[in-house]
Subunit: 498 residues, 2 copies
C-alpha cells in the first residue's frame, strides 16, 4: 500500500471537517428557529462540545505539516487553489493564542448578553463598562495578527471577512461615495416629495404572507427539495449547501419586512445552492467572501427587487396571496419600495442612504482599533457623522445609535464594510448582465430571471473560492471592483438619470 499523498490526506481531513460543520450549521439553525427557551442551557453546553471538537481539528499541527508537504506535490490548478484555501483556513484557526481567543469570545458573549437589555434601556454607560474590554481585546487581537502577517492592525480584521481588502482601498471607495451620496439622497427626497404613494393597509395574516414568500421564492428559483423557509427574529441564511435553511420575519401590519428579507435571503440561498457539488466538502467549495455573498442577496433585494420591472411580478403575487388592496399595482409598489427616507436604523435604511450607515461605522471602528479614539468617544462622533451624512439627529438615542447592531457588541470589527462592498459588486454584476443580455429588463418584467441566474451560476456560484476575490471580479466583469456602477445605478433609479 502506497503512502497517501499529503494533499490527499488534507482532502480527507477537510471532508471530515465539512461533515461536522454540517451538523453545527443545522443545530445553529435549530437554535434560532425551533428550540424552546428551556433547551438553551443544555444546548449551549452541547454546542460548545462540538465547536471545541471542530476547532481542535482545524488547529491540528498535523495539518500545517501536510500543507507544507503538499506544496511540493504535483497538483493541478484546482488542487493548488484548494491548497491555498486550506492554508487560509489553517492560518485563521491558528491566528490567535487560545487564551486570547477565549478571552475575546468570553468578553463578546458577556457584552452581547447585557446589550440585549441595555439597548432597549438606552443604557450607554452600562454598555460601555463591558464594551471597553471588547475593544481592548480586539486591539490586542489586531496587533497580534499584524505582527504575524505584516498587515496594518485594522487590515487584519478586514482580511478575515474580505480576504485581500485593505484600508487604503476602502478609504478611496468610501471617500468618493461620501462626496456624492448626501446630495443624491437629498435630491431623491426632493424628487419624491410630491409623489403620491399609497401604503397598502393591513392586517396581512401571517399564513398569507408565508404563502406569498414561498411563491416569491419559486419565482426566484429557490430549490425547495433542498431547502426550507422558516421564521426567526432576525432573518438569516443557514444550513448547508445541500440543505439551505433561510428565515424571514413577519409583521402582521406590514408585508414589506417579509417581502424584503425573503428576497434578500433567497439571494444568499441561491449562491449556496449553486456552489459546485464536486468541491463542496473542500475549502475551495466555500463562498468567496462576505461581500461576494452580500452581493448575491443585494442583487435580488435591490437590483432586481426594487426595479420598476420586478414590480410587474410583485403586483400580481401580492394580489393573489394578500388579496386585492389599494396600492397593489406595479407603479405604486415601485414607488413604495424605492422611497428614500434617511433614518437612524441601518437594517431598515433605504438603498440610497444605507451606505452612509456603513461609512459611519467604518470610520469609527478604524479609528477605534488604531487607538485614535476610545470607546467613550463614539457617541459624539456618531452624532456628528450621522448629521453630516444623513441630516439625522441621533443625540441622546444610543439604543438606536451606536448600540443598534450586534457586530461591535461581540467584537466583529471589520465586518460592516462588506455590506456596501456587496452593494457595489451587485451593481457591477447587474451592469454586466445588462450588457450581455440587453433585454434583461423586459425579461424580469415577466418573471423570467433565467439569463440572470445563468450568468450568476457561470461567473459567481460555480466558481466558489476558485479565485482570489479580485480575480473572480475581473473574470466575471472584465475589471476589478469599479464603484462607478453603483453610482450609475443609484442615479438612474433615484434621480431618473439614464
Amino acid at each position: 500500500m502506497s503512502t497517501p499523498s499529503a494533499y490527499a490526506e488534507l482532502v480527507a481531513a477537510h471532508a471530515r471537517l465539512y461533515r461536522f460543520d454540517h451538523l453545527a450549521a443545522i443545530l445553529s439553525w435549530d437554535r434560532s428557529t425551533m428550540m424552546p427557551p428551556g433547551g438553551s442551557a443544555a444546548r449551549a453546553a452541547a454546542d460548545a462540545e462540538l465547536r471545541g471538537l471542530i476547532h481542535g481539528l482545524r488547529r491540528a499541527p498535523r495539518l500545517a505539516e501536510l500543507i507544507q508537504r503538499a506544496g511540493d506535490e504535483a497538483l493541478d490548478d484546482v488542487e493548488r487553489a484548494n491548497l491555498r484555501e486550506m492554508r487560509r483556513d489553517w492560518l485563521e484557526a491558528n491566528a490567535l493564542p487560545e487564551t486570547l481567543a477565549s478571552a475575546r469570545a468570553l468578553a463578546g458573549a458577556r457584552c452581547e448578553h447585557a446589550w440585549r437589555s441595555q439597548r432597549p434601556a438606552n443604557d450607554w454607560s452600562g454598555f460601555l463598562s463591558n464594551f471597553r474590554e471588547v475593544v481592548h481585546l480586539a486591539r490586542e487581537e489586531a496587533v497580534h495578527l499584524a505582527d504575524a502577517t505584516g498587515l496594518a492592525p485594522y487590515d487584519t480584521l478586514l482580511d478575515r471577512y474580505e480576504p485581500g481588502m485593505r484600508t487604503a482601498v476602502l478609504d478611496r471607495l468610501f471617500g468618493a461615495l461620501q462626496t456624492w451620496m448626501p446630495d443624491l439622497v437629498a435630491h431623491a427626497q426632493e424628487a419624491q416629495r410630491n409623489m403620491a404613494v399609497i401604503v397598502p393597509a393591513g392586517p396581512f395574516p401571517l399564513a398569507d404572507q408565508r404563502r406569498l414568500c414561498h411563491a416569491l421564492m419559486e419565482v426566484l428559483g429557490f430549490d425547495f427539495s433542498a431547502g426550507r423557509l422558516d421564521q426567526s427574529a432576525h432573518p438569516f441564511t443557514g444550513g448547508v449547501a445541500e440543505d439551505v435553511r433561510i428565515t424571514t420575519r413577519y409583521d402582521e401590519r406590514d408585508f414589506l419586512p417579509a417581502l424584503n428579507s425573503t428576497l434578500h435571503e433567497t439571494g444568499h440561498a441561491r449562491y449556496a445552492q449553486g456552489l459546485p457539488r464536486a468541491w463542496l466538502s473542500q475549502p475551495l467549495g466555500r463562498p468567496r467572501s462576505y461581500a461576494i455573498h452580500e452581493s448575491q442577496s443585494l442583487l435580488l433585494e435591490m437590483q432586481v427587487g426594487r426595479s420598476r420591472e420586478f414590480a410587474e411580478v410583485l403586483a400580481p403575487l401580492l394580489r393573489t396571496y394578500l388579496g386585492e388592496r389599494a396600492g397593489f399595482d406595479a407603479d405604486n409598489l415601485h414607488r413604495l419600495l424605492a422611497r428614500v427616507a434617511p433614518g437612524r436604523i441601518r437594517v431598515s435604511a433605504d438603498e440610497a442612504s444605507y451606505p452612509a450607515h456603513v461609512i459611519v461605522r467604518y470610520q469609527i471602528e478604524r479609528a477605534l482599533i488604531s487607538g485614535e479614539i476610545e470607546a467613550e468617544d463614539i457617541p459624539t462622533l456618531w452624532d456628528e457623522k450621522m448629521l453630516a451624512l444623513l441630516g439625522v439627529d441621533t443625540r441622546g438615542n444610543y439604543g438606536d445609535g451606536c448600540m443598534q447592531d450586534v457586530h461591535w457588541t461581540d467584537g466583529a470589527f471589520g465586518y460592516f464594510p462588506s455590506y456596501t462592498l456587496g452593494a457595489m459588486y451587485a451593481a457591477q454584476w447587474f451592469a454586466e448582465v445588462r450588457r450581455t443580455t440587453p433585454e434583461i429588463g423586459s425579461q424580469i418584467a415577466v418573471g423570467n430571471l433565467q439569463a440572470l441566474f445563468d450568468w450568476l451560476d457561470a461567473n459567481i456560484w460555480s466558481q466558489a473560492s476558485r479565485w482570489e476575490t479580485s480575480e473572480l471580479v475581473c473574470r466575471a466583469s472584465g475589471t476589478d471592483l469599479d464603484p462607478a456602477h453603483f453610482r450609475a445605478h443609484l442615479e438612474a433609479r433615484y434621480l431618473g438619470a439614464h
Copy 2:
C-alpha cells in the same frame, strides 16, 4: 493536585457523551420532521461521522479500566447505581466485534431500504432474500452475546431492551394472557355489537387539529417551554430531556390518529421531562427501560385516554377546536375510543386485541433466533397464530402481515415484548394510583391529573435508572410485575366487570 478518582473521570466522560448524544438526538428529530429530501445524502454522511465519534467514545478501553478501578473506590449508593449503569453501557457498546456490528448494521439498512417498496408491493420473496441475512446475523449476534454472558441466545436480545427480562418470565406472562385474551376480545365485540357509535364526520382541518393537540398537551402537563410538538410520518418522542420533541400525524378525515398519538407521545414526553435534572448527564439519569417508557405512554393513551372519565375532558376540547359535530359528546366518544375490532395491523389495534399482535411476534422471533424455524416459515406460522388468537385471516397479505413492522426488518429482535410489558406496567401503576387516590376517577373527569402525575414523578420519573427494573416496580407498587392488574383493567373496561 490530587489524582482525580476513577469514578470522577467516568462522570466527566459520560457528561461529554451526553452532550454529543444531545446533538445526535436533535439532528435525528430534524431528519424526520424538517429536512428536505435533497439534504439526506449529505446528512447521512454527517450523521455517520457523529455516530462514529460517539461509538468510539463509548467503546474506549480506558472506560473499562476506570470502571474496574471505580469499583474499589468509596462510593455512595447513588454513585454505585451510576457505576452499574456505566458498566451496562460499556458492555453494550463493546458487546459485538466491530466486524459483526457493522455487518449487522449494513444488512439491516439494506433490508429496511428495500422493504420500503417491498411492503406496499406485498413482495415477500424479495424481502426474504435480504431478510435471511438479517436473521443469520442476529443469530450470530445472540450466540456471541450468549457466550459472553451465559444467558440463552434470545435472552441476550431481550436484555438489551429490558435489562433482566427472561424468556421464562415472558412465556409465563404471555402464556397466561393467551388463555383469556381471545375470549375477552370475543365477548367485548359481542357486547359492543348493538351499541350505537357515531363516527364524527370530517373533514377536520389540520390547523384545527394542531391546536387541539396543543390544548390536550397543556391538560396533560407538557412543558412547552422545554419542548415542541411537530408532525412526522410515524409519531415519535425525540430530542433530549431538556428539550423534548414529540411528533404526531394528522389525517384530515379522522381526528383519532392525531388525538391518540398525541396522548401516547405526551406520556413518553412527561417521563423525559420528569427525569431528575441532577443526574441527566449520567447513565443513572436515563429512562429505566423500553417497557417502563412504554408504560408511561400507555398510561396516558390507554389507562387515562380511553377511560369514561377522560371522555368528559375530551368532549369540550373537541367541540372547542374542531367545532360542534354529532358524536362529540362524552358517552359517544368513550364508545368510539373503546371499540374492539381485531385487525391485521398492530399499530392501529385496539387496546384489548393489541397483546395478540405482540404474542404472535414474540413466539415467532424466539423460535427464529433459536433456530427452530427459518425465515421462510414465518408466513405460515403468522397465519395460524393470527387466526387462532384474533380470528383474523392474513393469508397472502404479507405487507399487512409479517412485513408490516420495521423491527424485524432492521434486526431489532427482542423489542416487541416491551409493548405488552408496558401495557401491564401501566395497568399496575394505575391500580396503585387508584388505591392511594380513590377519587382519581372523578379528578380525571374534571381534567385534574395532578395526583396521577405526582405519583408518577415520585415513583417513576424521578427514579430514572436508580434501581433495576424489578426493584423499581416493587418500590412503586409493592410487588413485582403482576399481570392480574392488566387483566382486571381490560375486564372492567370491556366486560363491565368491577
